[in-house]
Symmetry: C2
Subunit: 391 residues, 2 copies
């Protein structure tokens, strides 16, 4: 069965679309990544997403409209990758669409309920492609008392479990998150949590100070020096020591965070600011390992994925901080695609939901139950009828 | 099969919950209303909904949080009506939840896409009740180029078709909408559209001028006089003469509308304002019939449903305006429950979706295709396992 996974992360670099071939033989899933693309967002849409992410700039009309616009863009990405590979989108077994996170609040804050909101209307995707869509994966885990994140551990177990090595899978997107994968693990042995900021603050600084989207290759950070004062200020953050499972997002490390940081430390050299915040990301990751992983498990390998895996300075900082503990590798080092990882995950989670199977990992999210993630949206019957005619 | 329908309308008077018994014999649906309740909203939630309805007061955090809070309240309503009738909620065949409309914009406006947004998280309802939920009915019709409303015509045909009479089913909730049901009609003969304001402006005036939620029985309007000047000002509204199919909501006739109206006409006696806006609702309804119904079809009966059917002054205005054309009846006059009508409809629409059947009426919404409405969200497997154990 051909399936498609769609991911559009907090880093706003575009729509990740993965085309997979999935075969299920005697309950064992075998998957092959046929193709992967990142379709960049146009500036207009990026601005609308940025507005919808800010409490002071978002409103019901914008969110309502953007939900439909993103649905159209997601559908176009699916049709593009299908057409490029000679597959009719309406023949897809399922599309798994993560959606764009507009708000994620894993715990109650004042009068606001623990809740999460992803947009990118599945009805539009199903109507435009002719395929069944599974979307809104995070809400059911939160309904079951979980943090709604991370959801990749299920597919990470499927794809990365090793019979000899204890592995950490560290994703560095807008946010950093890690999955702990002991050798020969089953679902009950896997745990995962958000480590804190990924590229989010670095990207925000690059846009404000250098008018670039991100620190390409970590070059700017490589030319700066870490300011210990600022680093100490950043590390004084209760999320870093909060117990696991835990998850975070733009609510803690978004533009309001950078605003505040620049108020006090805006006088530092721009490259020093980028270097320090790059070290901050590395230190939040390692500090979390030291508190919540290393005491339990001797780790053999850390495999880095996400945009952060292309930041050589960040990788160097991580390797320095982890020297003597374990090896730091990237997805590409072990023959996978770092970029495709999350899109692949949501394609496979959709496949599980379509088959009525639960796919959250309670030890990763804190949920009370294994639950079936997401909603199923059906395409119009006309595609089926066409299919019948052609058959 | 027992099913539940949930509706929470623009009038914000609470959660309508209908418990139905549905039997399908040779493709023919037979339905029985077992019980119906309106669970009033608490003031705190009404205030949050009101904020989320206003462009200038809504934001991503509020909408994200309210989506989950409403999910909890919807689930509690389902459990309440099930428990009262000795039925386990987890044994329900399906729950159809309309959700609370936060924004509905059937046509593109400036840079905002045609779109609609209902909230009341289905994952929370499914998790808390243990039943499968169908929700977000309007988005697929809009994805197919329709207005996303009205969606009741499908079930109206099922329940109200007569072999001898041409009927109009006029609902007067926050918004007014009519379904045209010729005798012996099939889906292809049914059409429907929003007529304009229902009780929305009247309720808003009652709250501002009399500190009451609505004009109980139409008593206030009965003591006022219609101001022809204000009535002419109101009738000068392009929605009234806009071609069908058409739909509207708080965007046109919400608090911003009342704000504007009171700026110019705030000096009138409060009862006169209420009387005039009651007549405005009646006239928008009749004006739409004169333009879009009477030229095509001789109508025998008009059956009024919704909160407006309890406003005697509104009924009297309608009867006066329609004198010589047709009889004005209420749902109760023909042995149905006016209050339950929409909740029943969304229960039955959920039943259709669960069976993979389309249930929009393109002639009513303007959609290009018959489409399967809504998303399906599954409950945790633990309920099934319990069910198996008990069996």
């Amino acid at each position: 069965m051909h399936i498609v996974g769609l991911m559009s992360g907090t880093s706003l670099d575009g729509i990740d679309v993965a085309l997979l071939d999935v075969q299920e033989i005697e309950g064992h899933l075998s998957t092959k990544l046929i193709d992967f693309k990142t379709v960049p967002f146009q500036t207009g849409i990026i601005n609308e997403i940025r507005k919808s992410l800010r409490i002071d700039q978002s409103d019901s009309q914008l969110i309502c409209s953007l939900n439909f616009k993103l649905g159209v863009l997601f559908a176009e990405s699916v049709k593009m990758i299908c057409s490029k590979n000679g597959i009719a989108a309406s023949e897809l077994g399922v599309i798994g669409s993560h959606g764009q996170t507009i708000f994620h609040q894993p715990e109650q804050v004042d009068s606001f309920a623990a809740s999460t909101l992803q947009i990118g209307e599945p009805a539009v995707i199903a109507y435009e492609t002719g395929a069944t869509v599974v979307s809104n994966f995070r809400t059911m885990d939160m309904a079951a008392g979980g943090q709604g994140a991370p959801l990749v551990p299920f597919t990470e177990l499927l794809l990365y479990r090793d019979s000899h090595k204890n592995r950490l899978l560290q994703n560095i997107g807008g946010i950093g998150n890690v999955t702990v994968l002991p050798k020969n693990a089953t679902l009950d042995h896997v745990f995962a949590f958000d480590t804190g900021p990924g590229n989010m603050i670095i990207d925000d600084l690059m846009q404000r100070l250098f008018s670039r989207d991100y620190d390409d290759g970590g070059d700017i950070a490589a030319h700066g020096h870490v300011n210990e004062d600022l680093l100490a200020y950043c590390m004084d953050n209760s999320f870093i020591t909060a117990p696991i499972p835990k998850s975070t997002g733009r609510e803690l490390f978004g533009t309001e965070y950078t605003d505040k940081l620049l108020t006090t430390y805006g006088h530092l050299a721009p490259a020093d600011l980028v270097a320090t915040l790059t070290m901050f990301t590395a230190k939040t990751i390692v500090s979390n390992y030291e508190q919540f992983v290393f005491p339990k498990l001797a780790i053999d390998e850390i495999i880095i994925s996400g945009g952060g895996s292309y930041n050589k300075t960040l990788l160097r900082y991580l390797a320095e901080l982890l020297k003597g503990h374990c090896e730091v590798l990237t997805q590409e080092d072990i023959g996978y695609s770092s970029d495709a990882k999350e899109a692949v995950a949501f394609g496979l989670l959709a496949y599980e939901t379509l088959h009525g199977r639960p796919s959250n990992v309670p030890a990763a999210t804190g949920a009370r139950d294994h639950v079936i993630l997401g909603n199923v949206t059906y395409p119009p019957l006309k595609y089926k009828e066409e299919g019948t005619t052609h058959a």
